[in-house]
Amino acid sequence: MQALYFVLGVPVMGAAVLALVGHRDWARDVNVAFSLGTFVAACLMTVDVISRGPLFAWDRQFFIDPLNVFLVTLTAFVALTTAIFSRPYMRVERDHGKMTPPRLRLYHSMYQLFSFTMLLALTTNNMGILWVAMEAATLTTVLLVSVYRTAASLEAAWKYFILCGVGIALALFGTVLLHMASERILGAEGGGLLWTSLNEVKSRLDPTITTLAFAFLFIGYGTKVGLVPLHNWLPDAHAEGPTPVSAVLSGLLLNVALYAVLRCKVLTDGALHSALASQLMIAFGLLSVVVAAFFLSRQRDVKRMFAYSSIEHMGLITFAFGLGGPIATYAGLLHMTVHSLIKSAIFYAVGHACQKAGTQVMEDIRGLIKVSPTVAWGLILGSLAILGMPPFGVFASEFLILTTAMREQPWATPLLLLALAVAFASVFSKILPMVFGESSVKPLAHSPALVPVFVHLGLGLMLGLYIPPYLDMWYRQAARMLGG
């Protein structure tokens, strides 16, 4: 229980400290140190939860169960590796004059505050606080996306703010409706917004109100997941911000938004005894997979392309949770984990490649393998992994999702296969010339941080071959809780 306070307290302290000293040379290391502290606290909390089961804290306002504990660890881990990656990355950006000391201070402070909002959203038991944390996450990332102050980054940040602001406002309306439904049962003092209380009485929630509430919550949090047609902000925000920010947006924010949707789905399923939530998730998930796959082939900017790939994968995960059942839910959770690891690894490699080439346009990045073989290998292995090649973890989860889809929703399988094939063809044909061919890139003064890339890829590979028993147990418990 103490560990939980550290999980939340360390990033807040980090944000405060870095707001003062974030422009110093050693601030990059301080950033890593605070992220490491958060990760250690998250690990301790995990051990605690494994040995003693779900825990409550602070008058039931915080709640740790198998579903969020593994996401907390994953979030803290990706935040740590991204902080390590951001050390040499930000040094280069400073040398290029793109990051001035005030901007570095803002960047470091907001990075920690963003970690805090993610962890708060995951650990809170209060649906209202979940909303507040998601909105705060938007605010911090808006500042991170616009940190270069270029015309394009301002445009991306403005669009991001307005679209996600509107989306998340609808989620607040959904939360109000949920509160209204629970107040009828629990009374005004019954803690009607606590997820655990709602979960206990979910079968008695009024179906009409809950249907409407879920529609609003799904659209609202779905905007942040990046589901088509609410995805417009996502490619811009990924492409125009610094690359570490793209990595945490894809690796953490989308996951946490999907987590919010899942929490709402559990309540709705209990209240309605119908498949409304599942059908909505299947429809929007499938649409996202297909639309994003076709948009992939039209991209010229490498970060935009991988942003569309994130939309595709979030669509696939949403689809998997929509299918329901133990296998698809298990696969969805596995895919969340592997996507987050592999996609952030790709962004690390892409970040270094773009810095070396001085551009994000894929046609202008050529022959990476000659100048920096490790970055090139990271990029090509990462792309293969994210495209679902065995033996990486994405293959395992996609295989499980597809086989379940064949049984449950056979009509969707050809669409999924087509989308995956299109994605494969377009991404691979664009990555190959970037890696091979005549070189156009320059070596950089600072050695890139490649440990995070290969650690992530290694973990992604491991999850494809062997899932450790405790992780397996978590996934199973979480899948059972999600109604599988």
Partner: protein, 218 residues
């Protein structure tokens, strides 16, 4: 006791009318006044409901709205428009009469959505839920159809008004900690947007959001 629900319904009607007024208003200073007035109506409604339901939490919510939406944010917006010297919004993307008709359609849609559930509300003013939803949708439309930054932001804030109104009429208000969280988010959000407006002006030499259309799909 019959008197207070009537009064709350009157205020709800005023809030809806102010939403329509904001849609048609092109002078930015008047837009800010209308927004502050809408906030004031919301404060009055919260106080009345708090008095009727003997719920002191609603007084705190009202005080927060009063401090933020009636006083601080309009003052900040006034400062911004004075510093940036913007007075008039350009012609909206759709003309005003068309928007009014679409707006009426939205109100009917909101009422038909809210009608079956507003009867189930625990609060005495549950009937106003439809109006709250209508305000949210109208502000949504305002954000889509305005091309200047300041009216878009006011649309965003007015949507927040609609949401708070929904929370006070459908339930007995959100838990205190959530209220404070929302207020903090709104305040920080508006400060960030304010800074953005200066940066956009610097970059594009105008506050026309239509400049922000470079990032197209290709």
């Amino acid at each position: 006791m019959k008197f207070i629900p009537q009064l709350v319904n009157l205020l709800a009607a005023a809030i809806l009318l102010l939403s329509f007024a904001m849609i048609s208003q092109r002078r930015i200073a008047s837009l800010i006044n209308l927004f502050a007035l809408q906030g004031a109506a919301l404060v009055a409604a919260s106080v009345l409901l708090g008095y009727a339901a003997h719920n002191p939490d609603l007084y705190v919510s009202a005080a927060l709205t009063l401090a933020l939406k009636v006083m601080l944010i309009p003052w900040l917006l006034y400062r911004v428009i004075r510093r940036l010297n913007v007075r008039w919004d350009v012609e909206p993307l759709i003309n005003v009469p068309t928007m009014m008709i679409v707006g009426i359609g939205l109100v009917i849609f909101a009422f038909s959505l809210a009608l079956p559930i507003s009867r189930l509300s625990a609060s005495i003013a549950g009937g106003a839920l439809g109006i709250a939803l209508a305000c949210v949708l109208l502000s949504f439309m305002m954000m889509i159809t305005r091309s200047r930054a300041v009216p878009q932001v006011i649309g965003f804030l007015s949507m927040e008004n609609g949401l708070i109104f929904a929370a006070t009429t459908a339930t007995n208000g959100m838990p205190m900690i959530v209220e404070f969280g929302i207020a903090l988010d709104v305040l920080v959000g508006i400060l960030i947007l304010g800074v953005f407006m200066f940066q956009i002006r610097e970059q594009f030499d105008s506050l026309d959001i239509r400049n922000l259309e470079k990032l197209k799909e290709d």
